[in-house]
Assembly symmetry: C2
Homo-oligomer: 205 residues x 2
Protein backbone atom coordinates (compact mmCIF):
# COMPACT_ATOMS: atom_id res chain seq x y z
CA UNK A 1 0.00 0.00 0.00
CA UNK A 2 1.63 3.18 -1.22
CA UNK A 3 0.50 6.77 -0.97
CA UNK A 4 1.28 9.37 -3.65
CA UNK A 5 2.09 12.82 -2.37
CA UNK A 6 3.10 14.90 -5.35
CA UNK A 7 1.08 13.45 -8.15
CA UNK A 8 1.88 15.24 -11.35
CA UNK A 9 -1.14 14.38 -13.46
CA UNK A 10 -1.26 13.28 -17.07
CA UNK A 11 0.42 14.76 -20.06
CA UNK A 12 -1.88 17.44 -21.37
CA UNK A 13 -3.07 17.07 -24.92
CA UNK A 14 -5.28 19.12 -27.15
CA UNK A 15 -7.80 16.88 -28.81
CA UNK A 16 -6.41 15.48 -32.06
CA UNK A 17 -2.99 15.26 -30.47
CA UNK A 18 -1.76 12.04 -28.97
CA UNK A 19 0.47 12.09 -25.94
CA UNK A 20 3.15 10.55 -28.08
CA UNK A 21 3.02 13.53 -30.41
CA UNK A 22 3.40 15.88 -27.47
CA UNK A 23 6.51 14.01 -26.40
CA UNK A 24 7.95 14.07 -29.89
CA UNK A 25 7.36 17.80 -30.15
CA UNK A 26 9.11 18.50 -26.87
CA UNK A 27 11.90 16.12 -27.81
CA UNK A 28 12.50 18.08 -30.98
CA UNK A 29 12.80 21.29 -28.97
CA UNK A 30 15.18 19.70 -26.54
CA UNK A 31 17.32 17.97 -29.16
CA UNK A 32 17.60 21.24 -31.02
CA UNK A 33 18.58 23.13 -27.91
CA UNK A 34 21.13 20.76 -26.38
CA UNK A 35 21.82 18.22 -29.07
CA UNK A 36 20.59 14.63 -29.11
CA UNK A 37 23.32 13.16 -26.95
CA UNK A 38 23.29 15.91 -24.36
CA UNK A 39 19.54 15.81 -23.94
CA UNK A 40 18.59 13.20 -21.36
CA UNK A 41 15.33 11.42 -20.97
CA UNK A 42 15.05 13.03 -17.54
CA UNK A 43 15.36 16.45 -19.16
CA UNK A 44 12.66 15.51 -21.59
CA UNK A 45 10.44 14.17 -18.82
CA UNK A 46 10.81 17.46 -16.94
CA UNK A 47 9.72 19.57 -19.88
CA UNK A 48 6.81 17.24 -20.51
CA UNK A 49 5.89 17.39 -16.83
CA UNK A 50 6.28 13.74 -15.92
CA UNK A 51 8.79 11.24 -14.56
CA UNK A 52 11.34 9.76 -16.94
CA UNK A 53 10.01 6.22 -16.71
CA UNK A 54 6.53 7.37 -17.64
CA UNK A 55 7.68 8.35 -21.10
CA UNK A 56 8.07 4.68 -21.92
CA UNK A 57 4.32 4.18 -21.80
CA UNK A 58 4.23 6.13 -25.04
CA UNK A 59 7.51 5.52 -26.82
CA UNK A 60 9.90 2.64 -27.24
CA UNK A 61 13.21 4.38 -26.82
CA UNK A 62 15.07 7.64 -27.07
CA UNK A 63 16.37 6.69 -30.48
CA UNK A 64 12.83 6.16 -31.72
CA UNK A 65 12.18 9.82 -31.03
CA UNK A 66 15.10 10.83 -33.17
CA UNK A 67 14.22 8.68 -36.08
CA UNK A 68 10.59 9.72 -36.07
CA UNK A 69 11.67 13.34 -36.22
CA UNK A 70 14.25 12.74 -38.94
CA UNK A 71 12.02 10.71 -41.23
CA UNK A 72 9.01 12.96 -40.80
CA UNK A 73 11.08 15.79 -42.16
CA UNK A 74 12.87 13.78 -44.82
CA UNK A 75 9.62 12.36 -46.12
CA UNK A 76 8.04 15.78 -46.37
CA UNK A 77 10.91 16.97 -48.52
CA UNK A 78 10.90 13.89 -50.68
CA UNK A 79 7.19 14.28 -51.26
CA UNK A 80 7.60 17.92 -52.22
CA UNK A 81 10.28 16.90 -54.69
CA UNK A 82 7.90 14.38 -56.26
CA UNK A 83 5.30 17.05 -56.80
CA UNK A 84 7.78 19.57 -58.09
CA UNK A 85 9.34 17.29 -60.70
CA UNK A 86 5.91 16.76 -62.19
CA UNK A 87 5.22 20.45 -62.64
CA UNK A 88 5.67 22.07 -66.02
CA UNK A 89 7.17 25.44 -65.23
CA UNK A 90 10.47 27.16 -66.05
CA UNK A 91 13.41 25.66 -64.22
CA UNK A 92 14.33 28.82 -62.45
CA UNK A 93 10.83 28.91 -61.01
CA UNK A 94 11.15 25.32 -59.91
CA UNK A 95 14.30 26.14 -58.06
CA UNK A 96 12.72 29.16 -56.47
CA UNK A 97 9.74 27.13 -55.35
CA UNK A 98 11.92 24.50 -53.82
CA UNK A 99 14.00 27.05 -51.99
CA UNK A 100 10.88 28.74 -50.65
CA UNK A 101 9.68 25.41 -49.37
CA UNK A 102 12.96 24.87 -47.58
CA UNK A 103 12.99 28.36 -46.16
CA UNK A 104 9.49 28.23 -44.83
CA UNK A 105 10.11 24.79 -43.40
CA UNK A 106 13.07 26.22 -41.54
CA UNK A 107 11.02 29.17 -40.34
CA UNK A 108 7.82 27.38 -39.34
CA UNK A 109 8.94 23.90 -38.37
CA UNK A 110 12.27 25.00 -37.07
CA UNK A 111 12.85 22.47 -34.32
CA UNK A 112 12.15 19.35 -36.33
CA UNK A 113 13.91 20.49 -39.46
CA UNK A 114 16.95 21.61 -37.54
CA UNK A 115 17.17 18.36 -35.62
CA UNK A 116 16.82 16.27 -38.72
CA UNK A 117 19.55 18.35 -40.31
CA UNK A 118 22.08 18.31 -37.50
CA UNK A 119 21.46 15.27 -35.37
CA UNK A 120 20.90 12.49 -37.92
CA UNK A 121 24.42 11.25 -37.22
CA UNK A 122 23.10 9.69 -34.06
CA UNK A 123 20.59 7.52 -35.84
CA UNK A 124 21.31 3.83 -35.45
CA UNK A 125 21.43 1.43 -38.36
CA UNK A 126 19.44 0.55 -40.36
CA UNK A 127 17.83 3.98 -40.03
CA UNK A 128 21.15 5.70 -40.46
CA UNK A 129 21.91 4.25 -43.88
CA UNK A 130 18.31 4.72 -44.90
CA UNK A 131 18.43 8.34 -44.00
CA UNK A 132 21.74 8.91 -45.74
CA UNK A 133 20.44 7.32 -48.90
CA UNK A 134 17.28 9.35 -48.89
CA UNK A 135 19.29 12.49 -48.39
CA UNK A 136 21.75 11.62 -51.12
CA UNK A 137 19.11 10.90 -53.72
CA UNK A 138 17.23 14.04 -52.76
CA UNK A 139 20.31 16.08 -53.47
CA UNK A 140 20.89 14.32 -56.74
CA UNK A 141 17.38 15.15 -57.85
CA UNK A 142 17.95 18.75 -56.86
CA UNK A 143 21.23 18.80 -58.78
CA UNK A 144 19.49 17.31 -61.81
CA UNK A 145 17.05 20.21 -61.84
CA UNK A 146 19.90 22.69 -61.78
CA UNK A 147 21.65 20.86 -64.59
CA UNK A 148 18.52 20.97 -66.66
CA UNK A 149 18.45 24.71 -66.00
CA UNK A 150 22.00 25.00 -67.26
CA UNK A 151 21.16 23.10 -70.46
CA UNK A 152 18.21 25.38 -71.06
CA UNK A 153 20.45 28.37 -70.39
CA UNK A 154 18.25 29.59 -67.57
CA UNK A 155 20.98 28.94 -65.09
CA UNK A 156 24.58 30.11 -65.04
CA UNK A 157 27.17 27.42 -65.73
CA UNK A 158 28.09 26.15 -62.28
CA UNK A 159 28.94 22.86 -60.69
CA UNK A 160 25.48 21.60 -59.81
CA UNK A 161 26.33 19.59 -56.70
CA UNK A 162 28.19 22.58 -55.32
CA UNK A 163 25.20 24.78 -55.99
CA UNK A 164 22.95 22.38 -54.14
CA UNK A 165 25.32 22.28 -51.24
CA UNK A 166 25.37 26.06 -51.04
CA UNK A 167 21.61 26.41 -51.25
CA UNK A 168 20.77 23.83 -48.64
CA UNK A 169 23.34 24.93 -46.14
CA UNK A 170 22.62 28.59 -46.63
CA UNK A 171 19.06 27.82 -45.70
CA UNK A 172 20.02 25.83 -42.66
CA UNK A 173 21.70 29.04 -41.55
CA UNK A 174 18.25 30.34 -40.71
CA UNK A 175 19.08 28.74 -37.41
CA UNK A 176 21.10 31.82 -36.49
CA UNK A 177 18.26 34.06 -37.60
CA UNK A 178 16.12 32.32 -35.00
CA UNK A 179 18.78 32.91 -32.42
CA UNK A 180 19.39 36.56 -33.23
CA UNK A 181 17.89 39.38 -31.17
CA UNK A 182 16.89 41.92 -33.78
CA UNK A 183 15.49 39.76 -36.50
CA UNK A 184 13.75 40.96 -39.61
CA UNK A 185 10.43 39.24 -40.14
CA UNK A 186 10.14 35.86 -41.78
CA UNK A 187 8.80 37.09 -45.09
CA UNK A 188 11.58 39.64 -45.52
CA UNK A 189 14.10 36.97 -44.69
CA UNK A 190 12.64 34.72 -47.36
CA UNK A 191 12.76 37.42 -50.00
CA UNK A 192 16.31 38.41 -49.13
CA UNK A 193 17.50 34.86 -49.32
CA UNK A 194 15.77 34.19 -52.60
CA UNK A 195 17.23 37.36 -54.07
CA UNK A 196 20.78 36.38 -53.22
CA UNK A 197 20.56 32.68 -53.91
CA UNK A 198 18.51 32.72 -57.08
CA UNK A 199 20.35 35.86 -58.19
CA UNK A 200 23.60 33.97 -57.88
CA UNK A 201 22.32 31.24 -60.16
CA UNK A 202 20.65 33.12 -63.00
CA UNK A 203 22.53 33.62 -66.21
CA UNK A 204 23.64 37.25 -66.16
CA UNK A 205 22.12 39.26 -68.95
Amino acid sequence: MLVYFCFMGRIKTDSNTTRKEVIIRKAAELFREKGYKAASMRDLADTVGVEAASLYNHIHSKSELLHIICFDVANRFTQKMDELEAEKIPIIQKIEKLLRFHISGMVHHFEEVYVSDREWKHLADPYLSNYQNQRRTYRKRFAAIIEEGIRKKEVKKVDAPTAVLIMLHAISGIESWHRSKQKINGKELEESMIAILVGGLKTSR
Copy 2:
Protein backbone atom coordinates in the same frame (compact mmCIF):
# COMPACT_ATOMS: atom_id res chain seq x y z
CA MET B 1 55.98 -4.67 -7.37
CA LEU B 2 54.02 -4.68 -10.56
CA VAL B 3 54.88 -6.03 -13.96
CA TYR B 4 53.61 -4.47 -17.16
CA PHE B 5 52.68 -6.88 -19.91
CA CYS B 6 51.15 -4.89 -22.70
CA PHE B 7 52.97 -1.62 -22.38
CA MET B 8 51.80 0.69 -25.10
CA GLY B 9 54.63 3.14 -25.16
CA ARG B 10 54.50 6.89 -25.33
CA ILE B 11 52.44 9.07 -27.57
CA LYS B 12 54.42 9.55 -30.74
CA THR B 13 55.30 13.10 -31.66
CA ASP B 14 57.15 14.62 -34.54
CA SER B 15 59.68 17.08 -33.21
CA ASN B 16 58.08 20.54 -32.86
CA THR B 17 54.83 18.92 -31.80
CA THR B 18 53.98 18.51 -28.17
CA ARG B 19 52.01 15.51 -27.01
CA LYS B 20 49.25 17.87 -26.02
CA GLU B 21 48.98 19.06 -29.61
CA VAL B 22 48.71 15.48 -30.81
CA ILE B 23 45.85 14.91 -28.42
CA ILE B 24 44.09 18.08 -29.50
CA ARG B 25 44.40 17.10 -33.14
CA LYS B 26 42.91 13.67 -32.54
CA ALA B 27 40.22 15.18 -30.38
CA ALA B 28 39.21 17.46 -33.22
CA GLU B 29 38.88 14.47 -35.53
CA LEU B 30 36.84 12.58 -33.02
CA PHE B 31 34.59 15.47 -32.05
CA ARG B 32 33.93 16.10 -35.71
CA GLU B 33 33.10 12.49 -36.39
CA LYS B 34 30.89 11.67 -33.42
CA GLY B 35 30.10 15.04 -31.87
CA TYR B 36 31.56 16.35 -28.62
CA LYS B 37 29.14 14.64 -26.29
CA ALA B 38 29.22 11.28 -28.00
CA ALA B 39 33.01 11.15 -28.11
CA SER B 40 34.34 9.66 -24.91
CA MET B 41 37.74 10.09 -23.39
CA ARG B 42 38.22 6.36 -23.79
CA ASP B 43 37.55 6.71 -27.52
CA LEU B 44 40.09 9.49 -27.66
CA ALA B 45 42.61 7.47 -25.70
CA ASP B 46 42.21 4.59 -28.14
CA THR B 47 42.90 6.70 -31.20
CA VAL B 48 45.89 8.26 -29.45
CA GLY B 49 47.11 4.80 -28.48
CA VAL B 50 47.06 5.12 -24.73
CA GLU B 51 44.85 4.53 -21.69
CA ALA B 52 42.20 7.12 -20.86
CA ALA B 53 43.76 8.15 -17.59
CA SER B 54 47.07 8.88 -19.28
CA LEU B 55 45.54 11.73 -21.23
CA TYR B 56 45.33 13.68 -18.01
CA ASN B 57 49.09 13.97 -17.85
CA HIS B 58 48.75 16.38 -20.74
CA ILE B 59 45.37 18.06 -20.47
CA HIS B 60 43.12 19.28 -17.69
CA SER B 61 39.76 18.10 -18.91
CA LYS B 62 37.68 17.12 -21.88
CA SER B 63 36.13 20.55 -21.99
CA GLU B 64 39.57 22.12 -22.22
CA LEU B 65 40.05 20.30 -25.50
CA LEU B 66 36.87 21.78 -26.89
CA HIS B 67 37.63 25.30 -25.90
CA ILE B 68 41.18 25.17 -27.21
CA ILE B 69 39.85 24.03 -30.57
CA CYS B 70 37.07 26.63 -30.67
CA PHE B 71 39.21 29.59 -29.70
CA ASP B 72 42.09 28.64 -31.96
CA VAL B 73 39.73 28.83 -34.88
CA ALA B 74 37.83 31.89 -33.71
CA ASN B 75 41.03 33.81 -33.09
CA ARG B 76 42.36 32.99 -36.54
CA PHE B 77 39.22 34.42 -38.11
CA THR B 78 39.24 37.48 -35.90
CA GLN B 79 42.82 38.14 -36.81
CA LYS B 80 42.09 37.80 -40.49
CA MET B 81 39.28 40.30 -40.11
CA ASP B 82 41.66 42.78 -38.47
CA GLU B 83 44.03 42.55 -41.41
CA LEU B 84 41.27 42.78 -43.97
CA GLU B 85 39.64 45.87 -42.54
CA ALA B 86 42.95 47.67 -42.84
CA GLU B 87 43.32 46.91 -46.54
CA LYS B 88 42.47 49.53 -49.13
CA ILE B 89 40.84 47.56 -51.90
CA PRO B 90 37.37 47.55 -53.49
CA ILE B 91 34.71 46.14 -51.21
CA ILE B 92 33.77 43.34 -53.52
CA GLN B 93 37.36 42.18 -53.44
CA LYS B 94 37.40 42.34 -49.67
CA ILE B 95 34.37 40.12 -49.54
CA GLU B 96 35.89 37.72 -52.00
CA LYS B 97 39.10 37.54 -50.00
CA LEU B 98 37.23 36.83 -46.82
CA LEU B 99 35.17 34.12 -48.45
CA ARG B 100 38.26 32.50 -49.86
CA PHE B 101 39.82 32.50 -46.41
CA HIS B 102 36.74 30.78 -45.03
CA ILE B 103 36.62 28.27 -47.83
CA SER B 104 40.23 27.28 -47.60
CA GLY B 105 39.95 27.07 -43.82
CA MET B 106 37.11 24.65 -44.29
CA VAL B 107 39.05 22.66 -46.86
CA HIS B 108 42.42 22.50 -45.15
CA HIS B 109 41.64 22.70 -41.46
CA PHE B 110 38.38 20.88 -41.73
CA GLU B 111 38.24 19.10 -38.42
CA GLU B 112 38.96 22.08 -36.20
CA VAL B 113 36.84 24.54 -38.14
CA TYR B 114 33.94 22.15 -38.29
CA VAL B 115 34.10 21.42 -34.58
CA SER B 116 34.31 25.07 -33.66
CA ASP B 117 31.31 25.69 -35.90
CA ARG B 118 29.06 22.89 -34.70
CA GLU B 119 30.09 21.97 -31.20
CA TRP B 120 30.58 25.33 -29.48
CA LYS B 121 27.21 24.86 -27.77
CA HIS B 122 28.92 22.51 -25.37
CA LEU B 123 31.40 25.06 -24.15
CA ALA B 124 30.96 25.89 -20.49
CA ASP B 125 30.72 29.42 -19.20
CA PRO B 126 32.60 31.72 -19.21
CA TYR B 127 33.97 30.36 -22.48
CA LEU B 128 30.52 29.98 -23.92
CA SER B 129 29.55 33.65 -23.61
CA ASN B 130 33.01 34.68 -24.72
CA TYR B 131 32.73 32.60 -27.82
CA GLN B 132 29.24 33.82 -28.62
CA ASN B 133 30.35 37.42 -28.28
CA GLN B 134 33.35 36.92 -30.48
CA ARG B 135 31.19 35.27 -33.08
CA ARG B 136 28.56 37.97 -32.94
CA THR B 137 30.99 40.83 -33.35
CA TYR B 138 32.73 39.01 -36.17
CA ARG B 139 29.47 38.78 -38.04
CA LYS B 140 28.72 42.41 -37.40
CA ARG B 141 32.05 43.40 -38.87
CA PHE B 142 31.32 41.22 -41.89
CA ALA B 143 27.89 42.81 -42.26
CA ALA B 144 29.45 46.26 -42.01
CA ILE B 145 31.68 45.46 -44.97
CA ILE B 146 28.69 44.41 -47.01
CA GLU B 147 26.80 47.55 -46.05
CA GLU B 148 29.72 49.67 -47.15
CA GLY B 149 29.60 47.81 -50.43
CA ILE B 150 25.94 48.66 -50.80
CA ARG B 151 26.59 52.34 -50.14
CA LYS B 152 29.33 52.34 -52.76
CA LYS B 153 26.96 50.56 -55.16
CA GLU B 154 29.34 47.65 -55.60
CA VAL B 155 26.89 45.35 -53.89
CA LYS B 156 23.24 44.69 -54.64
CA LYS B 157 20.77 46.07 -52.09
CA VAL B 158 20.27 43.21 -49.69
CA ASP B 159 19.79 42.74 -45.98
CA ALA B 160 23.39 42.57 -44.84
CA PRO B 161 22.96 40.25 -41.83
CA THR B 162 21.04 37.84 -44.04
CA ALA B 163 23.80 37.92 -46.61
CA VAL B 164 26.39 37.14 -43.93
CA LEU B 165 24.29 34.28 -42.69
CA ILE B 166 24.02 32.84 -46.16
CA MET B 167 27.71 33.14 -46.91
CA LEU B 168 28.96 31.63 -43.69
CA HIS B 169 26.55 28.75 -43.66
CA ALA B 170 26.99 28.03 -47.33
CA ILE B 171 30.67 27.64 -46.62
CA SER B 172 30.12 25.39 -43.66
CA GLY B 173 28.34 23.15 -46.16
CA ILE B 174 31.76 22.15 -47.40
CA GLU B 175 31.33 19.52 -44.75
CA SER B 176 29.22 17.50 -47.15
CA TRP B 177 31.78 17.98 -49.89
CA HIS B 178 34.27 16.25 -47.60
CA ARG B 179 31.81 13.46 -47.05
CA SER B 180 30.89 12.95 -50.69
CA LYS B 181 32.37 10.17 -52.81
CA GLN B 182 32.95 11.83 -56.13
CA LYS B 183 34.24 15.20 -55.14
CA ILE B 184 35.63 17.82 -57.46
CA ASN B 185 38.99 19.13 -56.31
CA GLY B 186 39.38 21.82 -53.69
CA LYS B 187 40.32 24.60 -56.06
CA GLU B 188 37.36 23.98 -58.36
CA LEU B 189 35.09 23.93 -55.35
CA GLU B 190 36.44 27.26 -54.23
CA GLU B 191 35.91 28.86 -57.64
CA SER B 192 32.40 27.48 -57.95
CA MET B 193 31.43 28.76 -54.58
CA ILE B 194 32.90 32.19 -55.18
CA ALA B 195 31.10 32.43 -58.50
CA ILE B 196 27.71 31.72 -57.00
CA LEU B 197 28.10 33.62 -53.76
CA VAL B 198 29.85 36.71 -55.03
CA GLY B 199 27.72 36.58 -58.18
CA GLY B 200 24.63 36.71 -56.00
CA LEU B 201 25.86 39.85 -54.30
CA LYS B 202 27.13 41.98 -57.15
CA THR B 203 24.93 44.73 -58.52
CA SER B 204 23.60 43.39 -61.79
CA ARG B 205 24.69 45.41 -64.75
